[in-house]
Symmetry: D3
Subunit: 264 residues, 6 copies
């Protein structure tokens, strides 16, 4: 693994990760539709690309050994936009990877692919897909696409169902779903250097006290989160008790599960 | 159930079913992008619609209690066409249904959603999605979409993973995957009139001797196939033995699993 | 098996079964709290007993090889009565059986032990108990009691979760839950004469088209229902469509699941 | 959670917990049939109540947000007493809770509900009930009752199958089943303040080296035991080897599984 | 499949099958250590071979497309003999097959590989091996060997756990374990001509009323037994009731499970 | 446990363990076919024995309470040798143990019993046997034999599927399969002194970052590995990336799975 591409590098997770990416010890190409806030850092290799433009994508994928595909729309939005970017764009990325001989991809999926499971159900890699949003449905498309490229072309993907990757939990629910950027970085490192990756589904979450997701089936990878939301417990100590029957509390998808259909 | 819409009515399955649809005893509206071969029958209610055109779809859905959604591309094809029709088109159909208050939909999915499972693996409603084609990936999108509309809006869908619905098996593999049109019709009747449908995954296959798919988890519906491919056994009695390690034999998707990426 | 006791012989199922019990070819003692409607038949051996009276029960159990325990309250009722008859009474019966050396008991349990499962969930012998009524809770007590006597004293019990044992289905739901008296009789015969009974949970239901319950784990017994509610389909052909989201339709327990707490 | 009731406060576990209950930071009402040994502490709010007396129970439940129901008979005893207290009494408590609008209950169940499983079988929340005593059967009644109130009335219960909650293990078996009072207190805190409790089955046991019970399905609660019986290993270092085929060693229920029927 | 070898052709099952083997429509070579009782039939192709003699085995395997390996010791015996014939002999057969390019083997295993499961446990292809005899252990060796040749060399084997293949059931237990020779022949036909065999475990049993073994995981083969022991029910109608706690009744292996270690 | 026999004491694991065996606090008899390299230590009790010689084995087993059976061939070899030592020899050992009244045996099995499972499949005690070598097949025989002696004669065995027990990992694969000798010793101690052992399958592996095997089903034993291969990570930091599709990487058996049939 010499050259690695990160898409969506100007997005939320990209922005969190960029300062610590050098720890990976690989050449990193960063890509997004626009420059990052504040502009690229001096030592960063930026390459603009629109995921829905096959030529753009082919250009940035060229010469890469692996891709961290964080690009795309990452919350509920208009269905036409989601189809354009998360369906067509993800397909464009995988096709470019296939043609360029890329062997490994991290596909940034989301917990909203399984957001309509109840909080009291422990999920694992084989749990039924139950998207809570059109956004979640589009990521289910991406997950299925990743398995297609694996079974047909032996392109390995880590399907990463990310919980909440922020500097710290922003609400009570994130005490269960939070993932630290350091745990994310270690997972990326694992995914890049594992002798065999295959096409596993991994839940992207730190070792928080409240646990909804069981990653034991992918223990062969050797990734174990080291951080925990427990350090932020005080922040929510005096929170107003939630209604246990509020759909945003009942379902793992939280507010996404509760919301009606997106209207612009 | 007074008024039922069938999309894709000029397609393969639509053409097979049209002569026997009157047995359902409901008012049937038939829709496709073009007139059926030979033109509509005198008593048929045809309504032209392009699935990717929201206005068209809204018009034909209007006033329907249920939809048999057989429309869309039903084999491997160019990805852009598949995205347009099977992704965008399926979304358009479900949104129209939601707005029009339709309560039940049969979503015609395919065995190519699980085509990369080995033949010796018995699948059921909870088996992992393993599409063997971009076509299969697009149907995985549709299945996920159906569950979204069920969990969020209580629109019931029968997710039907159709084997091979033809007058008779066309090759050795279809001895396992064949579904008679009469079994299909009985399943449609079941789906229309069951007290509660929910959002089950059902494999569309007759009671053939070779069985890859187990529908027992959806036995609550009360559908039991009555036909069998056994009646066609003589047709394949002198077939050339197949190579058990040919990908088209190893995988349930047959030729779809064996084929390379679609190139136009 | 020479001498068999049936409790609750004047109740609904007892009354249905009495005319065909002679087919079993055993000496049958019939017991209830009161004489049956119309009085005993000339060749019947009746013995009055109150299940909550240990002396009564000891008397009728005396000399029996097996017991068909259909006695008790068989629908929702005041909790104090249910506790008296179905909890204390069932205990009294099992203790009397233990002391008298009875080796086999049919414990008439009910589908209301699992009535809060959804209709679209296929249950089997290991499914979680989810009673829909205090009546159902009392039968969960009886089921647990039967396993206690099995594990500690090797008294074998057939735990029979009866669906709806009537001459014919009385409502739409019973198309799924109906059990013919002939299927019941064959099950009793099986239970009396099996080389080994153990302590299985069996769902008491005929081979109806709609199937919620899977008895395959107890296939070692050799009981296969031969009747089907299909013969009564015409009776419900013109039924008013049910609301699939009505709790009485959603849950297997039907009206029991929908009802509030019993108030006298 | 402002006001919490503890029943059985003068019993074994109540006595262990009372000194540390103030850490919960809630107003605690303590109840039992009689004064605690040594009398109430100055700051304790005691309320006498007989669980089988509905008026008593209604009085102490009044105004409570949650109940820790440790009351009842906690070992094998005469069946009539167990039925009176653990069956009728538990029902009385739940009915009082329903009428008073209590939303959460900890139901103190026992490992003797599953005592006839072998030691080498790892159990979890879905394991089959196999009571080893009439006491265990009565707790199976209580567990079923708790699920009834959850499914019908949305009263949340933590069904706690307690191992051995003592200051320290009293015999070799308790090295596996021991639960520290601090772990118990943390579980109570978790149960009171979780955003959503549902109706989970949790095994009440510390993080002991020998582990028979797997709580991972209820990891969503966020409770993780911190204590371990390992600290008491020296106490049993020179124990006489046990016979691995002694029923008290074979079965998880230990001496309860080995004992004959209770005779007074 | 032109040329098929049957080993053990002079044994019990071989003798039963020989008259009907011509229905298979293949050239059959029959082999055993000695001539069959009464000598070969005029049209039979007999080839003497000792399974423990590599040269013998190579000679009879030569030119075969498939092997029906019924040879070996088929009941409990001295361990040294069993090791010689069933361990060393089976290895010799598989090695000869590998070197001769044979692609398919029926390995005649036995229910005594799983004979220490209780009668009330429904087994399937994935059930734990629990041999009830050294004979059963030697067949577990053979089953493991078959999977080795499958995974390493793609030699397909049907691992057939035969119940009781006799003209008719000889005792009460065989009402559950009986397999007709016609069902056996149909299974052989299926195994020879299936497009893909793989390396499945199949229980060799007819469609008897009492069923201990579930073949649904291998339904892809298309074999469904058509006979049933029900036709012999009268034979056992007046049997002396068996003791349900007799090890020969408790365990599926019957008398094999009950017997002590073989002593010569 | 006073007197314990270790077979194979001059082999690889025996040599590693011998210096630390005194920590067990039992009288240890060491046995092998020849003297250990460098000769016995002064305080060691050595007894020569050939596992295939019943008289030899009877002599060394005499008077032992337990056996640590590490003897036998521990890598792929000529089939006739493997059958002689690992099949006949293991049988000889168990028979001697039965006759001498030995109650507990550690049977040193190997991960090569399951070597044809893919690396990305998490295995546990119930996973299907898939040997990757004749050596692995012979250990499958030994495992089946151990269960026979357990079910028929109540001789308890720990079936230990050893990963790689060396001073440190010797290649990249051993980062996942490594077991420290201290973890091995603690497991032996656990096995000798557990109140009840039964006949569990345990994977012999330290708490390494990469985990292929899940021992949670045998958590009742109380063994938890304390070492980890993580301490050796630097050793493989600059390893040449492996081909994820190399059979030696795909399969858990590593090079054993990749190798062709053993040719001498």
């Amino acid at each position: 693994m010499q050259q690695v591409l990160m898409t969506g590098a100007a997005g939320g997770i990209g922005t969190l990760l960029r300062p610590i990416l050098p720890k990976l010890g690989v050449k990193m190409r960063l890509s997004d539709m626009a420059d990052p806030d504040g502009g690229p850092a001096p030592d960063e290799d930026w390459a603009m690309a629109d995921l829905t433009d096959a030529a753009d994508v082919a250009r940035v994928v060229e010469g890469c050994d692996a891709i961290l595909h964080f690009g795309g729309i990452s919350t509920e939005n208009r269905a036409d936009l989601i189809h354009e970017v998360n369906v067509k764009g993800t397909y464009t990325l995988y096709e470019a990877a296939r043609k360029a001989g890329v062997r490994r991809i991290l596909f940034a999926s989301t917990n909203h692919v399984i957001g309509f499971h109840r909080r009291e159900t422990l999920l694992d890699a084989d749990s039924e897909v139950r998207p809570d949003s059109i956004y979640g449905v589009s990521k289910a498309y991406g997950e299925a696409l990743a398995t297609y490229y694996w079974h047909k072309f032996e392109i390995e993907s880590l399907i990463l169902r990310i919980g909440s990757c922020f500097p710290e939990p922003k609400d009570r629910r994130m005490m269960a779903t939070w993932m630290s950027r350091e745990d994310m970085l270690r997972l990326i490192e694992t995914m890049l250097f594992a002798p065999r990756l295959g096409c596993p589904v991994v839940y992207g979450v730190s070792d928080n006290p409240e646990c909804w997701w069981d990653n034991s089936k992918t223990a062969y990878l050797g990734w174990r989160p080291r951080d925990s939301s427990a350090q932020f417990a005080a922040k929510f100590a005096d929170f107003e008790p939630e209604d246990p029957n509020d759909p945003a509390v009942v379902y793992q998808g939280g507010g996404f599960a509760k919301a009606g259909h997106y209207e612009d």
